[in-house]
C-alpha cells in the first residue's frame, strides 16, 4: 500500500510510548516515509516499558498453558512477520538481536509430571481444530510446523539440551517458537529510528488526544496520534491495569542452553531464556498487583530454585540484575486497538508483547495506510486535472 517516500512525507505521526509497540510503529512508519515523532516518559536508553523487562519469547504454543486460543492464533501470525522484520533491521544496523527459531522445551519435575500431561492435553484440544485465520502460504507453512512438536524422553532432552539436568524424564519440544534479546532489539530499533530521522523526545510525560499530544508545557499537532503508552496510559484508559512481573538476569560459563526452557509447576510458570555472553533471563512471576517496587525475597527464592532445578550449576551463577515491571492488561487479558479519527490507541498486550506485536502493529497501521491511500488518490487526481488543463 505504501507507494513511495515523497508522497507520504507530508503526514506527521505522533507516537506516545517508546516501548516495544511505539518503537516498531515508529520504525515501520518512518521506513514508509512518514514524518514521525516518538515520545517516551522514561529515557530511551532505559525505557519504563514492560517490553524492556521481558524475556523476549515468541512462543504461541507455550503460552496456551494459560492464554486463550486467540493469543495462539495472533502469535502464529506474529511468527510469520518476525523473520522479515529481523532481516530488515539487521540489514539497516548490522546488529544481531539474538533472534532464534529453536522452539522451546517444557519440562516438569517428576512430582509434577501431571502438570505436563495436563498441559499436553490442553495443547492437543486447542490444536486439533487450529486453522490459520487467513489463508496465506506463510501462515499455512507455520501451522504445518506445529507437527514438529513432540514428546521428548530423557535421551532426546539430552541431545537437544545437554546441559539440562538428567532428572527430567519427560518433556515437550514445541515448534514453531522463537526468542530474541528484548533489550538488544529495542536498542537496535532506537539506532534505526535515529538514522531514519525520527524525532525522539524522552523524559516527557504526555497525554493523547485526536490529532494532538500534550505535555505539561507543550502541545503538538499531528495527522495521527498513536497511543502505545502501556500502563503509562492508565489514567486515560478505563479498565487498564498493571500485572506485576519479576525477573532475574544471571551469568555463568558452566551452563549452555540453546533455547528457552519452561518449568511447569502447579503454582508457578517459570522459564529460563539463554542470551548472549552466557547470560540467562529467568522469569517471571505474575502477581495481580500494580507494584513496581524491587523483587521480593519470596519471588527471588522461587525463581532461583527453578533455575537450580534446571541445572544445579546455576547455583554458582552471578546475579547481574533483578528487574520488576508491570504488564499492561485489560480485564480479559487480551490486546485492544481502538481507532477514532486522528487517534489510535493500542494497549493490553499483557505477558505477550513480543508474541502479539506484529498482529497489533498491523492493526494500528491499517487506518493510517488507508487514510494515506485516499490522500494519494486525491493528489493523483488533482495532478491529473492539472495535466488536463495544460493540454
Amino acid at each position: 500500500m505504501v507507494t513511495s517516500f515523497t508522497m507520504k512525507s507530508d503526514l506527521h505521526i505522533g507516537i506516545a510510548g517508546g516501548g516495544l509497540l511505539g518503537r516498531i510503529c515508529a520504525w515501520r512508519l518512518a521506513m514508509a516515509g512518514y514524518q514521525v515523532t516518538l515520545f517516551e516518559q522514561g529515557e530511551f536508553s532505559t525505557p519504563l516499558a514492560a517490553g524492556w523487562t521481558a524475556a523476549g519469547m515468541i512462543s504461541p504454543l507455550s503460552e496456551l498453558e494459560a492464554a486463550e486460543p486467540l493469543v495462539f492464533h495472533m502469535g502464529m501470525e506474529g511468527l510469520c512477520q518476525w523473520p522479515a522484520w529481523i532481516e530488515q533491521l539487521t540489514k539497516q544496523t548490522k546488529r544481531d538481536v539474538g533472534y532464534r527459531e529453536q522452539g522451546s522445551i517444557i519440562v516438569a519435575h517428576r512430582l509434577d509430571a501431571n502438570a505436563l500431561l495436563q498441559f499436553h492435553q490442553r495443547l492437543t484440544r486447542v490444536l486439533q481444530d487450529a486453522r490459520p485465520r487467513e489463508n496465506t502460504p506463510e501462515l499455512t507453512q507455520k501451522y504445518s510446523r506445529i507437527q514438529e512438536s513432540k514428546w521428548l524422553h530423557s535421551d532426546d532432552i539430552h541431545s537437544l539440551e545437554p546441559h539440562l539436568t538428567g532428572q527430567f524424564q519427560q518433556g515437550l519440544l514445541l515448534q514453531p517458537e522463537a526468542h530474541l534479546h528484548a533489550r538488544d532489539f529495542l536498542d537496535t530499533l532506537l539506532t534505526a529510528l535515529s538514522r531514519l530521522g525520527v524525532q525522539l523526545l524522552d523524559q516527557l510525560q504526555v497525554d493523547c488526544f485526536p490529532g494532538e499530544i500534550r505535555s505539561a508545557q507543550h502541545s503538538g499537532k499531528f495527522d495521527w496520534v498513536i497511543d502505545t503508552r502501556g500502563t503509562g496510559a492508565k489514567l486515560q484508559l478505563d479498565g487498564l491495569r498493571g500485572v506485576r512481573g519479576e525477573v532475574l538476569i544471571v551469568e555463568t560459563d558452566e551452563v549452555r542452553l540453546n533455547r528457552p526452557v519452561r518449568l511447569l509447576h502447579p503454582r508457578y510458570r517459570l522459564y529460563v531464556v539463554p542470551r548472549r555472553n552466557q547470560q540467562f533471563i529467568i522469569g517471571a512471576t505474575e502477581i495481580e498487583s500494580e507494584d513496581y517496587s524491587p523483587i521480593s525475597l519470596q519471588s527471588h527464592l522461587e525463581l532461583s530454585s527453578a533455575l537450580v532445578a534446571v541445572n544445579p550449576a546455576f547455583a554458582e551463577a552471578r546475579i547481574l540484575q533483578t528487574a520488576t515491571n508491570c504488564r499492561p492488561a485489560y480485564i480479559d487479558n487480551l490486546p485492544k486497538v481502538k481507532v477514532v479519527p486522528g487517534l489510535i490507541t493500542a494497549n493490553g498486550l499483557f505477558r505477550h508483547g513480543y508474541l502479539l506485536a506484529p498482529s497489533v502493529v498491523s492493526k494500528i497501521l491499517k487506518p493510517i495506510e488507508a487514510n494515506a491511500t485516499v490522500r494519494n488518490d486525491k493528489q493523483a487526481c488533482s495532478r491529473l486535472e492539472v495535466t488536463n488543463d495544460n493540454r
Binding site: E68, E288, S289, D291, N333
Partner: protein, 269 residues
C-alpha cells in the same frame, strides 16, 4: 427440594459452593466462572498484592464486581503473627471481619500448621474477627478451634491445588459425626465434581475450591458443573443415602425359597 440455608456467623447463604479468585486466564473469565458457579462467597488473597499500597486495587475491584461476599485469606503466611498482621490489614482494606485463616506449615504441600493456626485463630477471635480456619481433618485440632470460638471450620480434602479429592474419608466422616452442629466446609484438594459431590453426600455443609475450576480448559463450564455437583450431593444427603450392604438383598422376596433357608443364608454371613 427444600433445604435450610447455610448459616455462617449468623449470615445465610443459598449456595453451598465457595469459590477462589486466583489462577484464571483473565479477570473477566473469573467473573463469568463465578457467576456460573452460583457462589455467594469468594476468597481473595492479598499477601503478595502489596496491601499496604493498595497495589492490587484493580483485581480487587474485579472480584467485588462479582457481588459475592468477600472472604479475604491469609495465603502465604507461615506464622500466626504474620497472619494476624495481614488480617488487620485486610479488615481495614475490605471493611470485613470475615477471614479465611491460613497458616502454612510446609512449603511444598502447603499443609496448615495446626499450632500456629490455633494460636492465631484464638487471638483474631478476641479481636473481633469472624475466622474460617483452613485446617487439617484432625478431630482434636477441630475441637480446639471450635473451643476458641470458630463458628465454621474448613478442613482440607487434600493439599491445595492437588485435585486428589478426599484423601482421608474415614477421618472426615468421623469429624462430621463428632461435630454434627458445627458448619464444616471441605476446603482444598477437590479436583473433580464427583469429589465435591462425595463431600456433600457425607454431610459436609459446603465445599470451597479454586484450581479445579480456574485451570480447566473451560472454566465457566466447569463452574457450572461444580454448581450442579454440589447441589446434587447436598440433595442426596438430604434425601437419605442408602448404606452399602455386604450381601445382595432382593427388593422382592425370593419366591420358592423356604423362609428358614433365607434366614439361614443370612445368618451364615
Amino acid at each position: 427440594m427444600s433445604d435450610k440455608p447455610l448459616t455462617l456467623y449468623g449470615e445465610t447463604f443459598h449456595s453451598r459452593l465457595l469459590i477462589g479468585s486466583a489462577l484464571y486466564p483473565s479477570p473477566s473469565i473469573m467473573q463469568s466462572a463465578v457467576k456460573a458457579s452460583g457462589a455467594e462467597i469468594i476468597t481473595l488473597s492479598l499477601r503478595r498484592q502489596g496491601p499496604g499500597q493498595e497495589a492490587g486495587a484493580a483485581i480487587w475491584q474485579a472480584i467485588k464486581e462479582t457481588g459475592c461476599k468477600l472472604l479475604p485469606n491469609t495465603a502465604g503466611c507461615r506464622t500466626g503473627k504474620e497472619a494476624i498482621n495481614l488480617a488487620e490489614m485486610s479488615r481495614e482494606l475490605f471493611q470485613t471481619e470475615w477471614l479465611k485463616l491460613e497458616v502454612i506449615g510446609d512449603d511444598y504441600s502447603l499443609q496448615p500448621d495446626p499450632f500456629g493456626l490455633l494460636e492465631a485463630a484464638s487471638e483474631l477471635i478476641t479481636r473481633g474477627f469472624k475466622v474460617l480456619p483452613y485446617c487439617t481433618e484432625d478431630l482434636i485440632l477441630c475441637q480446639r478451634l471450635r473451643d476458641v470460638g470458630c463458628e465454621v471450620l474448613m478442613p482440607w480434602g487434600a493439599p491445595i491445588g492437588t485435585g486428589l479429592g478426599l484423601l482421608n474419608p474415614y477421618h472426615l466422616r468421623m469429624l462430621r459425626e463428632r461435630l454434627p452442629d458445627l458448619p464444616l466446609i471441605v476446603d482444598a484438594g477437590i479436583g473433580a465434581p464427583s469429589q465435591a459431590m462425595e463431600a456433600m453426600e457425607m454431610g459436609f455443609d459446603a465445599v470451597l475450591l479454586n484450581t479445579a475450576i480456574a485451570k480447566a480448559d473451560n472454566p465457566v463450564l466447569m463452574a457450572e458443573v461444580f454448581r450442579n455437583a454440589v447441589a446434587g450431593g447436598r440433595h442426596a444427603y438430604l434425601a437419605g443415602l442408602m448404606l452399602p450392604q455386604q450381601t445382595a438383598s432382593p427388593s422382592t422376596p425370593t419366591i420358592g425359597m423356604p423362609f428358614w433357608h433365607q434366614h439361614k443364608s443370612n445368618n451364615s454371613q
